[in-house]
């Protein structure tokens, strides 16, 4: 989810900040500002998490949330201290932690089992796979993947639907609980996105996604979900439970709109939104289960994040053409094959390439696995969620 730009050491030195002494050294302490959009985002996600815990029957325990959030927070404090020799309030990683805990579920965890440690290692795994790419897979001093998004998508694919899943697409029958949850999501979205100027991106995604999912519903696509034992979800309910899913809205408002991983240019952001929505819809098209659809949504962003440098470049060219500014004269293009070889010689870029390809491909393969339908229909030994 939304993360902060890297610290500017000059600025840190220029302003007077509180300090602590560690091993005889004065270490600056950077606390969050009230205007920080990450705090607003955190407040929104925490509010929905509490709603989920106490009103919407989310199957997550307090230790599962606490371990994930603390692990992420402590990791960022240590990493930032090692890199910049300052103690920074880990707003981004706390945000990553709560996002993971909010979405990730371990099969068999019951609602109300507040102190369950069930599958705690899986929460640790998601937290680790969210943070490691943030510090390792970087390009132009920015991390490439949205931390919680890649952690969630990768673990859901790696461990599989027998053991893990993400929070349901549809939380409750339409009633005051859902209206309250939607109000918090939309209110929080407006509060955060207005500040980070990401409303056009979110609306572009939604317009594209809504149209494609409506098309699928019209052509009779259906899916199985544990919360719909009457049979497959189809028709207008198919559209509503995917396009208006609180999970989808949170993904749109608080994941793809992460300024750190989205393209920089306005045009690039619109391309990125359309590409992510189209990728998500195409991956959803081949899914017949809720698990597959949720992974499809997450994986679409993994794929487009890996392509952000290309999208940014395309966005800049469109911007230049639109504004009538001359495009910079470029040196003769390096042949694609040579560029690919150069990329593959760099383990970091090679890993990004593998992740960007494997996430959507493995997600598409979920659509061929008919056994996931048995899980969604509750016809296995896995506890029905």
């Amino acid at each position: 989810m939304t993360t902060a730009p890297p610290l500017a050491p000059v600025e840190v030195a220029a302003k007077k900040r509180p300090e602590v002494t560690i091993r005889g050294k004065q270490v600056p302490v950077i606390l969050p500002k009230w205007s920080d959009p990450r705090l607003k985002l955190s407040a929104t996600i925490w509010a929905i998490t509490f709603l989920g815990l106490f009103v919407l029957h989310f199957q997550v325990s307090i230790p599962q949330i606490a371990v994930t959030v603390l692990l992420c927070g402590v990791t960022e404090v240590v990493m930032t201290y090692r890199r910049d020799h300052v103690l920074v309030w880990p707003a981004s990683s706390l945000q990553t932690g709560i996002s993971v805990a909010f979405i990730f579920r371990v099969a068999g965890t019951e609602h109300g089992d507040w102190w369950s440690l069930r599958g705690i290692w899986l929460f640790v795994l998601v937290a680790a796979l969210s943070l490691i790419p943030k510090y390792v897979l970087r390009h132009n001093n920015r991390h490439i993947f949205n931390p919680s998004n890649i952690g969630l998508a990768w673990v859901l694919l790696l461990i599989g639907p027998s053991h893990v899943f993400s929070e349901h697409l549809w939380w409750d029958p339409l009633g005051w609980r859902m209206i309250l949850a939607m109000a918090v999501i939309f209110g929080g979205a407006f509060w955060v996105l207005r500040q980070v100027k990401m409303i056009p991106l979110a609306l572009t995604f939604l317009a594209t996604f809504f149209a494609l999912i409506a098309l699928f519903a019209l052509f009779g696509r259906t899916y199985y979900a544990t919360w719909h034992p009457q049979g497959p979800v189809g028709g207008s309910f198919y559209w509503m439970t995917i396009a208006m899913s609180p999970e989808l809205l949170i993904f749109v408002f608080f994941m793809i709109t992460d300024p750190q991983t989205a393209p920089k240019s306005f045009e690039g952001r619109l391309i990125y939104a359309v590409a992510t929505a189209t990728m998500a819809a195409l991956l959803i098209l081949v899914q017949s289960t809720e698990f597959g659809i949720k992974v499809a949504i997450l994986s679409s962003l993994v794929a487009t994040c890996a392509a952000v440098p290309l999208i940014d470049s395309l966005g800049r060219r469109i911007h230049d053409r639109r504004m009538g500014t001359a495009a910079p004269v470029r040196a003769p293009a390096v042949p694609f094959g040579r560029r690919l070889v150069t990329t593959l010689r760099n383990p970091v870029l090679a890993a990004v390439l593998i992740i960007g390809i494997a996430a959507p491909v493995n997600t598409a393969l979920l659509g061929r696995d008919k056994k996931i339908q048995l899980i969604e229909r509750g016809l296995t030994t896995r506890k029905v969620q």
Binding site: G160, P229, S313, R330, V334, R339, L340, P347, L379, T381
Partner: protein, 312 residues
């Protein structure tokens, strides 16, 4: 601005890897290998993910065609014309399937039999009349049966495949062999259900209460005046100690609601997936009831139910 004025930029391309210490570079490549390996596991190609982390959807296996191996009838009610059913990943609660019955007298090696490769275990239920009975299987140190006659009991083994027993006895003996499997049982409708004069007395579809239940339920009034019930393409969350009961409620929706209303036992359920037939106990009049419920005795939980509609 003319093109000449524009700055000349290099074509964007993948940056060269910065020169790094050999150890760090090796670590980076190790990380790449981990990413690649996890991508392969995530694809579940060759079921690699299932093997690594386990799965709740085992490999598809053919269901059992009868309560006895080979689909042979366990009771006169069951016809032998079993139709082969498609392989399935559905699994039942483990149940005992008859394999064979062996009889003899004194020490001997009876006819061999085969235990299915997917059997969980097998048992020998034995009786004998005099002396001591010992039954051994090759490659198993401990005797399957080692007891004094004339008592009877059970012995167990987990060996799969062809089995040649070595029986040591001083008198007549009888061994009933059964294997425990968890594949669904797909029985054809019983002879009584397809006989002329048999009528459908009610049908319904299983729905969830505390657990999962799917499939069709058909109640038959047989030509001989008795009743039987068939569960078809059904699945109920696996457990032991399940019972099939008739309820006076039309559509019970909770365990408490079911338990508070009059109900009666149809049968103890050993199989929880497939298509099975049960004869109702003599004297049980199903016309007094409106639904059928899968009931778990130890925890007093109604797993699933079906409203019996249609002619009664």
């Amino acid at each position: 601005m003319s093109r000449v004025d524009a700055p000349v930029l290099p074509e964007p391309h993948a940056p060269e890897a910065p020169a790094a210490a050999p150890g760090r570079r090796a670590l980076a490549w190790l990380g790449f290998v981990v990413v690649l390996a996890s991508a392969v596991v995530g694809s579940n190609v060759f079921a690699v993910r299932d093997h690594l982390f386990g799965t709740v959807t085992p490999a598809a296996a053919p269901p059992a065609a009868g309560r006895a191996v080979g689909g042979a009838p366990a009771s006169p009610d069951t016809p032998t014309s079993a139709v082969p059913a498609a392989a399935t990943s559905l699994r039942s609660s483990p149940w005992w399937q008859d394999v064979t019955t062996l009889q003899g007298s004194g020490a001997t090696s009876p006819a061999p039999f085969t235990i299915a490769a997917n059997a969980l275990q097998w048992r020998v239920q034995w009786t004998c009349s005099t002396g001591h009975l010992t039954v051994r299987v090759p490659k198993q140190a401990k005797a399957v049966v080692d007891g004094s006659c004339p008592q009877g009991a059970e012995g167990y083994s987990v060996q799969k495949g062809p089995q040649s027993l070595q029986v040591t006895a001083e008198g007549p003996w009888k061994l009933t062999i059964a294997q425990q499997v968890d594949v669904p049982l797909v029985e054809p409708p019983s002879a009584a259900m397809t006989a002329a004069g048999t009528k459908v007395a009610g049908t319904g579809s299983l729905y969830n209460i505390d657990k999962v239940g799917t499939g069709k339920v058909t109640l038959y009034r047989q030509a001989d005046g008795g009743y039987s019930v068939r569960l078809e393409d059904f699945f109920v969350s696996p457990n032991v100690d399940l019972e099939l009961r008739l309820s006076s409620l039309e559509a019970p929706h909770s365990s408490d609601e079911f338990a508070a209303a009059p109900n009666d036992l149809v049968t103890v359920m050993d199989v929880t997936a497939g298509s099975v037939n049960y004869a109702l106990p003599a004297g049980l009049d199903p016309t007094k009831y409106k639904s059928i419920v899968v009931w778990c005795v130890p925890i007093k939980s109604a797993y699933a139910a079906a409203t019996l509609g249609g002619p009664r």
